[in-house]
């Protein structure tokens, strides 16, 4: 199998303001993200040769992309739960590598707040068919499906619930601090550990501030052949690895699954490290945007991705290892927690932050001399997952 390392570069990116965009439709979010990406790449829509749009609920087919008015080119809608945005980028990247086109666009969008309900609309359970459910699926919520992990993590690593909740709170506090420095974030407020710990319970042991925002937003990337990248800009970002790993619900079916790790995360990252030639991710990765849909998942991701040893994420949290000033800053833009989580846009929003950071354009959130950045998504939940890990860098090789 051929390596995709350094064959494709991102030469333009855009990201809409995330949040409760009551006055913006899907079309406004798409145009906002795409316009910024075009300006950033210094090209117009006419130069795009193929496009992929990712959305979970906010449209059917590539016609969803029509507001951007690309003219008679191959376009496809993709969907892969919370990894949808990354899936669009993966498709565009693969098309470039295959030689099917030289310049492609990947865009993700979600307009969750049009549902008019609290929380995320859609099938109650992963993979349930929204048009013909049997009605037998349990009526548990998304927070509950991650609370199983927290319950189990506290139990297995002998953390009293108060201790466990404080550790999780540190993650929410960190992400809110980062988000407060970001004009495009959904929330811009700082939180204290006390506030997080005392927040109303949503699904014990997870409270309100352990859960990410339900937001509207869009994000966009323009990719091209690595050897053409400098024709667009002096500081292109090179794709080192793009890997998606999907299970067969083994964890929901088999008793040997422990609910304190996600196999799909582990395997997606191993493969990505191999593609990118990374031996020690804790040392080699400069910055990471990971899927903090719930604080417990960010904590488990530290371990799944090899940033922390199993059961020892708590030491790194306590040492501030993942803060803006730490050795490996995670979710520098506020993460899903604070920047918001419009499902189809999130993967590309993460990449937008890494891209800006690697170009030294992240303003007050800028980390020092980053070289390699990582994005991670999880579609689904523990036991039924879609793990996705991408790695990009600002230099070839």
């Amino acid at each position: 199998m051929e390596s995709l390392k350094d064959k494709v570069a991102i030469v333009g990116m855009g990201c809409s303001k995330f949040g409760e965009r009551w006055d913006a439709g899907v079309e406004d979010l798409l145009v906002e993200a795409a316009t910024e990406a075009f300006q950033d790449a210094g090209i117009g829509p006419k130069e795009i040769q193929a496009a992929w749009i990712g959305t979970v609920f906010s449209g059917l087919s590539a016609i969803t992309l029509s507001p951007v008015a690309l003219q008679y080119i191959p376009m496809t809608r993709v969907e892969n739960m919370c990894a949808t945005g990354t899936e669009a980028l993966r498709a565009a990247t693969y098309a470039i590598i295959a030689g099917a086109c030289d310049v492609a666009l990947a865009i993700g969008v979600e307009k969750l707040k049009d549902a008019g309900t609290t929380g995320v609309k859609g099938p109650a359970i992963v993979g349930d068919n929204p048009d013909g459910t049997s009605g037998i699926g349990p009526g548990y919520s998304a927070p509950a499906s991650f609370a199983y992990m927290a319950t189990r993590y506290f139990n297995d690593y002998k953390l009293r619930p108060e201790e466990g909740k404080r550790l999780l709170a540190e993650i929410a506090v960190k992400n809110h601090h980062n988000g407060s420095l970001n004009p495009k974030a959904h929330f811009k407020n700082e939180l204290t550990v006390e506030q997080v710990v005392k927040a109303p319970i949503v699904a014990w042991p997870l409270g309100l501030f352990d859960c990410c925002g339900v937001s509207d937003g869009a994000a966009c990337a323009i990719v091209t052949r690595a050897d053409m990248a400098r024709n667009f800009r002096p500081d292109p970002i090179y794709v080192k690895a793009l890997n998606i790993c999907v299970g067969a619900r083994q964890g929901a079916i088999r008793q040997d699954y422990d609910f304190v790790h996600i196999e799909e995360n582990v395997l997606a990252s191993r493969k990505a490290y191999e593609q990118a030639g990374i031996k020690n991710p804790r040392k080699e990765i400069s910055i990471a945007e990971v899927h903090d849909c719930f604080t417990i998942h960010e904590m488990i991701v530290y371990e799944d991705l090899g940033f922390s040893a199993r059961g020892r994420a708590q030491d790194d949290i306590n040492a501030g290892f993942f803060t803006l000033k730490g050795d490996l800053p995670v979710n520098t833009d506020g993460g899903l927690k604070c920047f918001g989580h419009p499902l189809g846009a999130s993967g590309l929003r993460m990449m937008y932050e890494i891209y800006k950071q690697l170009q030294q354009k992240a303003g007050p959130r800028q980390v020092k001399d980053p070289r390699l950045g990582l994005t991670h998504n999880l579609g689904g939940n523990a036991g039924t997952g879609i793990g996705s890990v991408s790695i990009v860098g600002n230099e070839k090789g």
């Binding site: 993979g127 929204p130 009605g135 009526g139 609370a147 949503v202 699904a203």
Partner: protein
């Protein structure tokens, strides 16, 4: 000769204190408690629980299931078939509903006796379940409780022999509900006692004793239906029985459970009875069915746990507000959470085996029992990837342990907060499912659970039943 081969019961765990109801309305209270079906229970789910309890006391299987109730969720669609499929009875099982009368249970029992006597069937199970609703502030609200019983009429190894039956019918309008009524209505109490209930009971019980050539002294126990405690005590006296002979009607602990009431009393009597006792059993409603029973040495089988006595002891009091909400007696604010999509009849049909009795599969190659999380057919083993090499594997009768859980404030439930979790079955297999009938302060990793058939949701007037986990009664 036909006899009773097994008896089973089910009482929901929730109780409403009648003094609380009386205090709320500033009216006279009956005192005591009544049993209340959970928000996710109805007469079908209670009948499934009673049937499974009854079958666990029976050697062999049954040829038929007769379901008796006055509160069938469907006007047109059989309850017995739903219960039979949840109890995983063989497809040749004959099913019938006996409805519209408080006496429907004993009417079904007589039909079963005839079938067994004529050798048309070996064992027939009669399952009786009722969940009648009294209008708030009224006497029925305090009187009526929820419960279910099941009884197998058969020939071999009975716990009690049926020596004689005697029945009368009576077109008497004492209690009624038209098709449009949510609540029962009734005639004046004195009129019912003097003209209807009294003479009808005396007629049937007298007729039975005459047929057996016996008098009240020849029976050690009298088990019979009355609408309430006072009526019960008065009738026992009128029939010439001593207080010591009269079986407790359970009204003070569970209320009047309608069609199920007399058979639940009989279940309690069997748990206490010695071999060779003669029991007079009478059920009332549009007439009366009276039975002369004689216990056999097998009667000690009726004492196997869980008995009715242990079920009565395990209870949780709910407040009146919760009761009103569970029974849809007050309008409540709609949830701002997204509604679940309506179930498809077609997928429910396709997944019927998994829905009805929680069937999964066991891989013939690697031996792993597996249950699909959303009921889809498993064609390829999630463990060893063998294709279509499975045997059916039933999970509804397996116990398990809670591997992890969440106390879920967002779960759609009328008994918040919701609890859902990961259940690992003894012998293999895992299911992420809802829990019910739990005490939150006793929930923890490793908690032993068993499966229970419940209402999940209701759409288009169709009741969607499925299985939830509940703590195993200690």
């Amino acid at each position: 000769m036909a006899g009773i081969s097994a008896i089973g019961s089910y009482i929901p765990k929730y109780r409403l204190n009648l003094d609380e109801v009386a205090k709320f309305w500033r009216i006279r209270g009956l005192g005591g408690e009544k049993a209340v079906a959970g928000y996710d229970e109805d007469c079908i789910t209670m009948a499934v629980a009673a049937s499974l309890d009854c079958l666990s006391h029976l050697e062999g299987d049954v040829d038929g299931l007769y379901f008796a109730t006055t509160t069938n969720p469907y006007r047109e669609k059989q309850g017995a078939a739903i219960i039979a499929s949840a109890a995983d009875l063989k497809k040749e099982t004959r099913t019938a509903d006996f409805t519209n009368s408080l006496r429907s249970g004993s009417i079904a029992m007589r039909a079963a006796v005839d079938a067994v006597k004529s050798s048309s069937a070996k064992n027939l199970m009669v399952t009786i379940s009722d969940s009648r609703l009294g209008a708030p502030q009224g006497k029925f609200e305090q009187l009526l409780g929820d419960g279910a019983a099941a009884i197998v009429i058969g020939g071999d190894h009975p716990v009690a022999e049926i020596e004689e039956c005697y029945s009368v019918f009576n077109d008497f309008t004492d209690v009624w509900r038209t098709g449009k009524d949510d609540f029962p209505q009734s005639a004046e109490a004195r009129f019912i006692d003097v003209v209807g209930y009294g003479p009808t009971m005396q007629d049937a019980v007298g007729g039975l004793m005459k047929k057996c050539g016996a008098g009240p002294r020849d029976f050690s126990r009298l088990v019979f239906y009355a609408s309430g405690l006072r009526e019960h005590a008065e009738m026992a006296r009128k029939l010439g029985f001593e207080k010591s002979q009269v079986q407790d009607p359970l009204f003070a602990s569970i209320g009047n459970t309608g069609a199920a009431a007399s058979v639940l009393m009989l279940a309690a009597a069997f748990e206490e009875a010695m071999p060779g006792e003669r029991i007079l059993f009478a059920s009332y409603g549009d007439g009366c069915d009276a039975f002369a029973l004689r216990t056999t040495p097998e009667i000690t089988r009726a004492r196997t746990d869980p008995t009715l006595k242990t079920r009565l002891a395990k209870k949780t009091l709910i407040d009146y507000g919760k009761y009103l909400n569970w029974r849809n007696l007050v309008p409540v604010e709609a949830s701002s959470l997204p509604a679940r999509s309506e179930p498809s009849l077609i997928t429910r049909w396709r997944e019927r085996k998994s829905i009805a009795a929680l069937y999964g599969v066991r891989c013939r190659k690697c031996g792993t029992p597996q249950l699909h999380p959303i009921g889809q057919a498993i064609r390829i083993c999630a463990v060893c990837q063998s294709k279509d090499d499975f045997e059916d594997y039933k999970f509804s009768d397996k116990k398990g342990k809670l591997f992890s859980y969440a106390i879920d404030q967002l779960q759609p439930t009328k008994n918040p907060p919701g609890l859902n979790g990961v259940v690992d079955f003894d012998g293999g297999g895992r299911l992420i499912c809802e829990l019910t009938d739990y005490e939150l302060d006793k929930v923890g990793i490793g908690m032993p659970v068993e499966m229970t058939y419940r209402k999940m949701s209701q759409g288009q007037g169709i009741v969607n039943y499925f299985w939830k986990a509940k703590p195993v009664a200690e």
